[in-house]
Amino acid sequence: MSEIEVLADQSDVGQKGTVVRSHVIKKILKNPMGLIAVGILTLVVLLAILANVLAPFDPNFANIGKTLANPDSTNLLGTDSVGRDVWSRLVFGARTTLLSALLCAAVAVGIGLPAGLIAGYYAGKFDGVANWVVNILMALPGIIVLLTVRAAFGPSVWISMVAFGILLSPGYFRLTRTAVQSVRNELYVDAARVAGLSDASIIARHIFSVVRAPIIIQTAIVCGVAISIQSGLEFLGLGDPTVATWGVMLSEGFKNVYLNPTLLLWPALAIGLTIGALVLLGNAVRDALEDAEKIKPAKRGSVAALNSRTAPGRTQNEAVAAGTEHHLVKVSHLGVGYPQADGSVKKVVDDVSFHVDRGEVLGIVGESGSGKSQTAFSILGLLPEAARIVGGSIQFDGKYTVAPTDDSVSQSRLSEFRGKRISYIPQEPMSNLDPAFTIGHQLVTPMVRVLKISKSEAKKRALKLLDDVGIRFPEKTFNAYPHEVSGGMAQRVLIAGAISCEPDLIIADEPTTALDVTVQADVLDLIRDLQKSLNVGVILVTHNFGVVADLCDRVAVMQDGRMVEEGDVREILRNPQDPYTQKLLGSMLEGKEPMTMLVSAGASAGGADNEKEAGL
């Protein structure tokens, strides 16, 4: 039944691009599930190899005088309905079963892998034909095909397994093809090509190493499926009656289920354990390749203990530090960390303090990895699930959203503000709109939910907002899907969304980084104009001092999770105190024109027009 699912699995195992190394094997054996799997499979392989030694009887030797016997010293597991030794048949059955699974996998790999390599590497006509064949193969229900093959070629396990191998080859084909396609245009493959390596050696050296791991995982799954199908066919009585297999034993047991149900037990157990071990092995290989640096969310308690923040979080009515109530946002000694697998906590934000007032623009500037986005997301309460607050507090309009003892952002407290008084402009415009809904829908819904206005009212406001952010044909954009507009337009839409519920604070995370240079200036102008006219507070996260100089009143400079300097923009631009700020400024201004601030008003207006034209 599950034979076809194997074909669906490729999305999971494909494109991992990881090379199997010896430490992977070590990791598999360290994983208890992996160890169990390897143990069971080793046992089954040993049974199969040593069948002649381990089995006291020939699998087909029938002792007519002793049928359906219970286990005794001669017949360890008893005898079946014609007096054949169950243990001997089980052991020889392991041999047939394993060999047929291997044959099936070998055929599938033998066809799928080379075809996938060629189709992925050369594309073209072969790719088209191969895909067509694959679609046909995938539309075939396995057992029906195998029944037909049996009708044509007679009851042979081996022929069925060759046929089934062909049916399963699309799994390998797709896997290899996607992996190769993703690597083919990588720089190092180009480099190898330029260096004069032949196609064959590029495939062997660079591409084969990429598909090796997914192939191993797929093979474990395919072997399991082959065993299941093969036993199924034998169970139907379509196999070769002279060969002892687990499926034949199942069928024999099922016929005698009223007389001796234990006859069913052994082959069912053997099939279940072997396939289970293969599944576990596949999972263990995948985990070993995947986990490495994966962060496991540690228990709340352990992190709390680490930071001696053991007291339960207090309520939002808690008194706020005196003299700071008038700040719109106040971040005090904030620390954000990620618990690691070994129990330690990796701090990405450490002891960061700043505040923003109404009508003020604060820039947070730093390189990637400096913790600036993490800081912004803690204010929004949108940190990844694994993240923990390891120190400090955040207040919004005098109320704690992160109290001094909390280890995570309180979603219930933040939901009172988020979307209503705090809003967000993301970095990458296209990926931040849901592709399945129209732009209008994505603007209207938050207004209906937050402002509790009717849909038609919300639509009216949405059209006005689109007009406000400089979109020329609001009605057309309102009805468009995200993939139908340009990146610059999408960013305007997101800005419209950010101001739609009349927030007090806008957090903009690198709002221009993903845009074309000409569009960047327009979007910055737009943010500045809106900020002035709405008199909102803005936190602008950026790596670009040009943007800071253009837009911000104050700036906070971050490096490696710490804040190295904070103050008035002009002050810091003119006279940076910290050597890191000096370096950052130096690297930006040295030997080139300052970027955004010198773009003339005329040029930027022209840019806006072009951009709108291009979008529609």
């Binding site: 039944m1 599950s2 034979e3 076809i4 699912e5 669906a8 999305s11 999971d12 679609n135 046909i136 995938m138 539309a139 229900p141 396995g142 057992i143 029906i144 029944l147 037909t148 093959v149 049996r150 009708a151 044509a152 070629f153 399991g224 299941s228 036993s231 199924g232 169970f235 139907l236 379509l238 289920v257 149900p261 069913l264 069912a268 099939i271 396939i275 289970g276 599944v279 999972n283 929004l380 949108l382 988020r418 979307g419 209503k420 705090i422 809003s423 967000y424 993301p426 931040n432 709109l433 849901d434 592709p435 399945a436 809904f437 819904t445 938050p446 939910r449 937050v450 993939h483 519920c501």
Partner: protein, 313 residues
């Protein structure tokens, strides 16, 4: 939209023709002793030769295939060589049984797997671990082995369900449901966990998307994000898994039907292939492939409806 459907249908017809020919080609090699098998060992050489001419076995592959295909195009699938029952009628009496088992199973799988997969993706923790471990067990035990276990335990030992079932119009709906319970259960147990796992990873993939964070920042509730946005975007992946399971089930149900003695297409498929009853085998293959094509078309249409990008192209 109409051209989209027409294109898919045209592709389906090509696939159907290719598979029909392939099957006919394979069966051609098995037809050497058919006439003798039909008439029995006491028939004379002349009788056998006359039968071969009657069945068209004296002709070459291509004329035989085109003769069959010509009749098939007019809706005539011929009669069984062994029972003389018209193939179309044999199939139409069996098909509803098979389709009932498969469709009921896939509906259960879809509902349970979606619930489990989403719960595992959102809540993580124990429910996630439970789904993952159950998936290993579901994968490890083939559906027919599960069916044998269920029959042995619930029908033979505990006598809670009928061991063999008969679905006929006059047996009443209670008996009908009782005889469906175990086969459907066996299929569902085998399929549901792996489907749940696929849906889980699809939901997690969507939850990590940027637009989900932006929706949260807009003050949209977690529930609305999950059920309206995430589920919709994860649906194509889930549908693909379910359609592949459906195709797999059309084959797997053959064995299940044998175990429960269900009068579906399975028995027909096994009988006709072991005996070499070519018209009947062709009928089974044809019907199966048509069902597969319809299912794939439906999945394509739903995906198009779910994803505006696909709809446009």
């Amino acid at each position: 939209m109409v051209t989209f459907i027409l294109r898919k249908l045209a592709a389906g017809v090509v696939v159907l023709a290719a598979i029909s020919f392939l099957t006919y080609f394979l069966l051609y090699f098995s037809s050497a002793n058919i006439a003798r098998n039909i008439l029995g060992e006491f028939a004379s050489q002349e009788q056998v030769a006359a039968k071969e001419i009657e069945l068209g076995l004296d002709q070459a592959l291509l004329p035989r295939f085109f003769a069959w295909a010509g009749h098939a195009l007019t809706g005539d699938l011929g009669t069984s060589w062994f029972t003389s029952e018209p193939v179309a009628r044999a199939l139409m009496t069996r098909l509803p049984v098979t389709l009932t088992v498969v469709i009921v199973s896939i509906i259960f799988i879809a509902i349970i797997a979606t619930a489990l997969g989403m719960a595992a993706a959102v809540k993580r923790g124990w429910i996630d671990k439970a789904v993952q471990s159950a998936a290993v067990i579901g994968d490890a035990i083939p559906s027919f082995v599960m069916a044998i276990i269920l029959v042995t335990v619930f029908a033979i030992q505990l006598k809670l369900f009928p061991a063999t079932s008969s679905i006929s119009p006059d047996s009443g709906s209670a008996a009908w449901i009782a005889s469906l319970a175990l086969p459907v259960l066996a299929i569902v147990i085998n399929g549901v966990t792996s489907a749940a796992q696929q849906i889980r990873s699809a939901v997690i993939k969507q939850l990590e998307k940027d637009y989900v964070r932006t929706l949260r920042s807009r003050g949209i509730s977690e529930r609305e994000i999950l059920f309206k946005h995430v589920l919709r975007s994860a649906a194509p992946a889930g549908l693909t898994v379910l359609s592949l399971q459906f195709i797999g089930m059309l084959g797997g149900v053959v064995i299940i039907e044998q175990i429960f003695a269900l009068p579906g297409m399975g028995a027909l498929a096994v009988q006709s292939t072991t005996m070499g009853d070519i018209p009947l085998v062709m009928g089974v293959v044809l019907y199966t492939v048509v069902i597969v094509i319809i299912v794939n078309l439906l999945v394509d249409l739903i995906n198009g409806w779910l994803n505006p990008k696909v709809r446009v192209s």
